[in-house]
Amino acid sequence: MAAINIDSVSKSFRLPHEKKRTLFHNLIGIVKRQMSYEEFWALKNISFEVKKGETFGIIGKNGSGKSTLLKILAKVLYPDSGTLAMNGRVASFLELGVGFQPELSAEENVYIYGSILGLTRKEIRQKYDQIFEFAELENFKNMKLKNFSSGMYLRLAFACAIHANPDTMLIDEVFAVGDTAFQKKCSDKIKEFQNQGRTIVFVSHSMDSVKQICQRTLLLNKGQMVMLGPTEDVVKEYLKVT
């Protein structure tokens, strides 16, 4: 069974001529009968399948539609046409620590972030100690998040994320942060996920990490599929083009 099946998906953005953010401006626009936006196709006719347990890379230049595609997979954006089918629990990491509340303690934030990632209260309680151990923050459970350094913040967010236990993970270069030791921890963890048979979709500019972890890769350019195949070949093609 495929973990992800995406069929002829297209997405357009509305580029407004001038940003109308108020009811007042919009009423004026209707009266004057202006065309208030232009269409820009960020993705056109994208179709592919990601098998269960596969690590799938998406590469391309800036503005090629990688992030848009990942956001569609994450269901943050709706496609204008085409269909999308996902099987199993999906966790998207477009950013780490989404929903963290600076005024609340680390402990409370673990419960909030955990439930955003789809964990139940019971599951969070079971993993609670592991999360703080992994983040190396056992002594800061009751500290308010606003007093955390950016490194501590990141470690806590990452520790929650990797304990989320999803079937499919969507990763947008978020793990390319932190110092070398932290990055080592991240790539170790990704390998562990692969061994556990989880599906990973990985968007990156770093060809080295794509080559390291992805079995198949998709190359996008200007919102269209250029090439889809074994990572080695696709990366070669990408480097040739740029």
């Binding site: 953005f13 509305r14 953010r21 108020t22 009811l23 007042f24 919009n26 956001k71 994450a74 269901k75 943050v76 954006l77 709706y78 999906v90 998207s92 477009l94 950013e95 989404v98 929903g99 509340q101 005024e103 609340l104 409370e108 419960y111 909030i112 439930s115 955003i116 139940t120 209260r121």
Partner: protein, 250 residues
């Protein structure tokens, strides 16, 4: 919705904690502000309406009802636009953000209403038994707060002047409802239109059960229920249409 109950709970609790921790007196302030408002209005209008039965208590109940309606809808209006990360960086059904905000307003309001009980006892000498219907009335009021909340939360993402517009409408509403004055001063030829205001019926219902100790009339209950279900259906419909492009607008 049931599937996300723990997330809803966590978000609602976080919102309450934020609301009360940011002011030094927290919960205490949230009770004091409506009581002070009632005190000021009582002081100004006692000569005019002080002769009415239970004017002071009616005033407090009216203000509490209006307060849940206005702070609840305003908080909901902001619930999407103030949390762009939870819309653009992760997928959770967006109406959960509105629902958890409405829920935290409901809980705040329930806590505020508790202080009415000792005041009622002081002013009336007893507490009407019909007070037990109060949570039911509050659930009835929750429905339009959530419905209007859905409508405004989704529209506010696109039209950023809605908050100002809604605040003006709310300040009109406080004078178009029998909060400061009794219904009896409304001229007969206007009464037909006056009674179209659903908030009026809410206030009548709350006063019946919390002050007069009577069961509210079926006509008021029916109007309030129709209003609640109507706003919920409209709010839900508009929200579902507009939420598709939330991530692009925020």
């Amino acid at each position: 919705m049931w599937e996300y109950r723990e997330l809803i709970r966590n978000l609602a609790v976080a919102e309450l904690k934020n609301r009360y921790q940011n002011t030094s007196l927290g919960y205490f302030w949230s009770i004091l502000s409506p009581l002070f408002m009632a005190l000021v209005l009582w002081f100004v209008f006692r000569k005019l309406f002080g002769g009415e039965d239970n004017y002071a208590l009616n005033l407090i109940v009216g203000i509490m009802v209006w307060r849940f309606f206005s702070t609840g809808t305003c908080a909901c209006l902001n619930s999407i636009a103030s949390k762009p990360n939870l819309v653009t960086k992760v997928y959770i059904p967006r109406h959960i953000l509105v629902f958890s905000t409405a829920l935290s307003s409901l809980i705040s309001s329930l806590l505020e209403f508790i202080v009415i009980l000792p005041i009622t006892f002081y002013l009336l000498g007893h507490i009407p038994w019909t007070v037990i219907f109060y949570p039911l009335a509050h659930v009835l009021l929750f429905l339009p707060v959530y419905g209007i909340g859905l409508l405004w939360a989704s529209s506010f993402v696109y039209f950023r002047d809605l908050l100002q517009i809604w605040e003006v409408m709310l300040s009109i509403l406080i004078y178009a409802s029998p909060i400061i004055y009794p219904v009896t001063i409304v001229p007969a030829y206007l009464l037909k239109y006056y009674m179209l205001n659903p908030l009026t019926h809410f206030i009548i219902i709350y006063r019946d059960i919390m002050v007069n100790g009577t069961f509210p009339g079926w006509d008021s209950l029916l109007i309030v229920l129709i209003f609640g279900i109507g706003t919920f259906i409209i709010g839900n419909f508009v929200f579902n249409k507009l939420q598709r492009r939330f991530a692009e607008e925020l």
